[in-house]
Amino acid sequence: MNTRGRLWVLIGPPAIVLLAFFVLPMINMGSFSLRQGSFGAARQLWTIEHYRAFAANEAFQRLLLRSTWLALATSLLTVILAYPVAYHLAFKAGGRRMTLMMLLLVPAWTSFLLRILAWKLILGSEGLFSVALQALGLMQEPRPILLYTPTAVVVALVYSWLPFVALPIFAALQRIDVRLLEAAADLGCPPWRAFVRVTLPLSVPGVAAGFFFVFIPTLGEWVTPALVGGADGVMYGNIIQDQFARALNWPMGSLMSLVMLAAMLGLLGLLVGLARLLRLDLEVV
């Protein structure tokens, strides 16, 4: 078989999968967002009325903005918390690395729903914080702590993503040749400076992978807010789900999904650009 033929054998199957499960649904959603209704005759009518409605609906936009902030906060927090964990595993754990890695990963093997529900208990009125505060005399009667707030959503999400972010950062850190750190010391860097100038830049691929791994699904998240977010913790994903499942307004749902996708791509572009700019020259370190 010639090179071109082999190439097609290699990229053929994934190309077909992508076409069937990504490209076609996207086209479908795009076309749905331009229909008047979900069923029957309305489904055959083309209109841009939903675009007008979305543009006029400030509540939707506010929610998208807030969800974006929430997703950003969640990803940043997860990365910040996961980095020391990964760093310890890569450079300091020594012989205990396997054990610690298991301790990190095993909880993640239980169902996602269970882990979120566990937080519902922990933050609830019979939960750890409530009981502790009562025992300390700081609170008189049982009351949920943080439960049904956006903070609870962030806490629960950060908790469930942490191992999945620690792993790519660990992988990136582990690939760093320790001789590079010795070279940095040799050239006059105290340990913190070697970290900033060598370790950190070389771990950027892992950090970026972890960040996007959290950011992308969190922006569209609707299960966690539904369980621990309460009225204030509603996210954009929840109203998309409402459009499909309750309002049965599939065109609006499709449109909102597309807007979210566009917002996500725009933001990612912005972040990548920012990272490039930052990497250009950090004259201070």
Binding site: L180, E182, A183, A184, A185, D186, G188, R197, L202
Partner: protein, 365 residues
């Protein structure tokens, strides 16, 4: 002493053994060395003899188990690696993959806070010094092995260290490039006048480049001397064997004659120059003879006789393996000049081994 760039006093490093480790490796064992300022000093020894560990102890990447490192007379036990006035060229170069060549070279000056304009000028100078003026904007991965090696050198030299530590810097290069870089490195060292502590396991390289060589084995320094000293007057059998090819023959001290000493072996006798240490008559010793210093003559010449067993043509020389009466084999090399060497003796010929007294080296057992 003020002339010493580096002084090692009873330097010892044992790995493991910290928390019930089964293995306990004594990598460096009581090394005493004084390295002069401006010297090209080489640590030479077989793989695993502790060369890298010694270098890392000087650089401060390892803490000595016992003993001390002094640099320019200052004890280094309390000085961390990043404050020591030395720089290292790593065996695998250890260039920063995320930085360009120029940024790599600028790393040291930048850490020390040198102003940008001055820094840029110095970087260009350093790259010119290693004859790579045009690759500053490339990433290390876009350079050949030899070029990377030079960048590593520039990155270290730009800091004008008191001592430059080089760990087999030419190890990854092919033979031709290696030879060329040896010459370049030597010239560079003379040009910048920095003390070089150079690690290699290649004896030819050590002989060609060094002012002095320390021959190491098993964590210990066996002999320190100029290339001529360690080659011509090896202190131990190991040194004689490791540097160049050597024939070892058991012999007995017979009698003194002037400043010479007659030694008897099975199959004849040889005259050696009187060694420095006093030897008893009848004492068993080992003779060390370099193949290229042995001449062959037809068997009627007297002295030490044997029979040619093997003749191998190796271009510049012909290599003869001669079997002595004792059964011991001696290798002799004759240069292929005119009638000498090739074709002069054949397998089965009886020959006499001739060796000038100064070239018969007596090792006390």
């Amino acid at each position: 002493m003020s002339g010493l760039a580096v002084e090692l006093v009873g330097l010892t490093k044992t790995f493991g053994g910290a928390k019930g480790d089964e293995v306990n490796v004594a990598a460096v064992r009581g090394v005493d060395l004084g390295i002069q300022a401006g010297e090209f000093f080489t640590l030479l020894g077989p793989s695993g003899c502790g060369k890298t560990t010694t270098l890392r102890l000087i650089a401060g990447f390892e803490t000595p188990t016992a003993g001390e490192v002094l640099i320019e007379g200052r004890p280094m036990s309390q000085v961390p690696a990043h404050r020591r006035p030395v720089n290292m060229v790593f065996q695998n170069y250890a260039l920063f993959p995320h930085l360009t060549v120029a940024e790599n070279v600028a790393f040291g000056p930048r850490v020390r806070g040198m102003a940008r304009a001055e820094r840029d000028r110095r970087v260009q100078e350093a790259l010119e010094l290693v004859r790579l003026p045009d690759v500053g904007r490339r990433k290390p991965a876009q350079l050949s092995g030899g070029q990377q090696q030079r960048v590593a050198l520039a990155r270290a030299l730009i800091n004008e260290p008191a001592v430059l530590l080089l760990d087999e810097p030419l190890g990854a290069l092919d033979l031709k490039l290696r030879k060329r870089m040896q010459v370049e490195l030597k010239h560079l060292q003379q040009e910048v006048g920095i003390t070089f502590v150079y690690v290699t396991h290649d004896q030819e390289e050590a002989l060609a480049m060094s002012d002095r060589i320390a021959v190491m084995n098993d964590g210990m320094v066996l002999q320190v001397g100029t290339p001529v000293e360690v080659y011509e007057r090896p202190a131990t059998r190991f040194v004689a064997d490791f540097i160049g090819e050597t024939n070892f023959l058991p012999a007995q001290v017979a009698l003194r004659e002037g400043d010479g000493l007659w030694l008897t072996l099975e199959g004849g006798r040889l005259l050696a120059r009187q060694p420095a240490e006093a030897l008893q008559q009848g004492q068993a010793v080992t003779l060390a003879l370099r193949p290229e210093k042995i001449d062959l003559a037809p068997s009627n010449a007297g002295g030490l006789g044997g029979v040619v067993q093997e003749v191998v043509y190796i271009g510049t020389d012909t290599r003869f393996v001669v079997r002595l009466a004792s059964g011991a084999q001696v290798v002799a090399r004759l240069q292929n000049i005119g009638e000498r060497g090739l074709g002069e003796f054949g397998v089965g010929d009886a020959v006499t081994l001739l060796c000038a007294p100064a070239d018969v080296h007596v090792l006390n057992n």
